[in-house]
Amino acid sequence: MTVVDVRKDLGAATLTFVAEFDAPPERVWKVWADPRQLERWWGPPTWPATYTEHDFTEGGTSRYHMTGPDGTRAHGWLRFSAIDPPNSLELTDGFADETGANNPELPTSTMRATFESVGDGTRMTLVATYPSSEAMRMVLDMGMEEGMKGALGQVDAVLAG
């Protein structure tokens, strides 16, 4: 199993995940850096992501959309506030209107990922912070429920452990 620990901080509206991979940090870094690899895990199978722009540099912006089963497109963007290959990255995740333009009315969330060498593998720690329940709900409503059904039992087990 990829995810070895999930911690939730109700007060800070923060989720922390620790995941381990049998590959060095340079390899794990590529699934963020290469848009063709990134889009394969970003969206659930029912709402696959397509990255139309991916400026993976400090201050750079990425644009993507996710396509639902009925062809509906949900647009989003990422802005990278820190990039230190292959050690850490920090980004803001936001929503966009149907043309892909940033919608400042909509809430954003932030995430920070750090990568450490552990033996021949990598431990990735990811912290996602949601500034309001609106931000949480937007993420949940973006057609993602389908993709997480299978994971819910799994996360219950993790949280109970």
Binding site: M1, T2, V3, V6, K8, L10, G11, A12, A13, L15, F17, A19, F21, D22, A23, R27, V28, K30, V31, Q37, R40, W41, W42, P44, L126, A128, Y130, S132, S133, E134, M136, R137, V139, L140, M144, E145, G147, M148, G150, A151, L152, Q154, V155, D156, V158, L159
Partner: protein, 116 residues
């Protein structure tokens, strides 16, 4: 979904209420049973009215109840409300676990140029 049952403002009140360390501590201390306001106040280096204010924020968020018991006011956490807020984060966690599992699958695939 569970979160549909809760209004956005209600959820925001809960997260705002829990964003403060003293208020989280009050909820934790009253989860197992009622505590008087004066007993709670003795734990914190702040004025009695300040503790009262924190309790009022928690009450408005629906996270605790305050009842008179003789000369004391007794505070109790509403365990189910605390759980509801917790479940919203659980659902997001579920989404992330699925996403990170997919990430792991992409990492595990042989890279181009490495052969198969």
């Amino acid at each position: 979904m569970v979160i549909e049952a809760m209004s956005e403002e209600a959820v925001d009140r809960i997260f705002h209420a829990l964003a403060d360390a003293t208020r989280r501590d009050i909820v934790a201390r009253t989860m197992v049973g009622g505590r008087s306001v004066s007993a709670l106040a003795s734990h914190y280096a702040m004025s009695f009215p300040a503790v009262h204010k924190h309790i009022a924020v928690l009450e408005r968020a629906g996270l605790v109840t305050k009842e008179r018991d003789g000369r004391e006011q007794v505070v109790r956490a509403r365990v189910e409300e605390v759980r509801r807020a917790s479940r919203l984060l659980d659902e997001l966690a579920g989404l992330w676990v699925a996403r990170l599992d997919r990430l792991g699958e992409v990492v595990a695939e042989p890279q181009e140029g490495e052969g198969s």
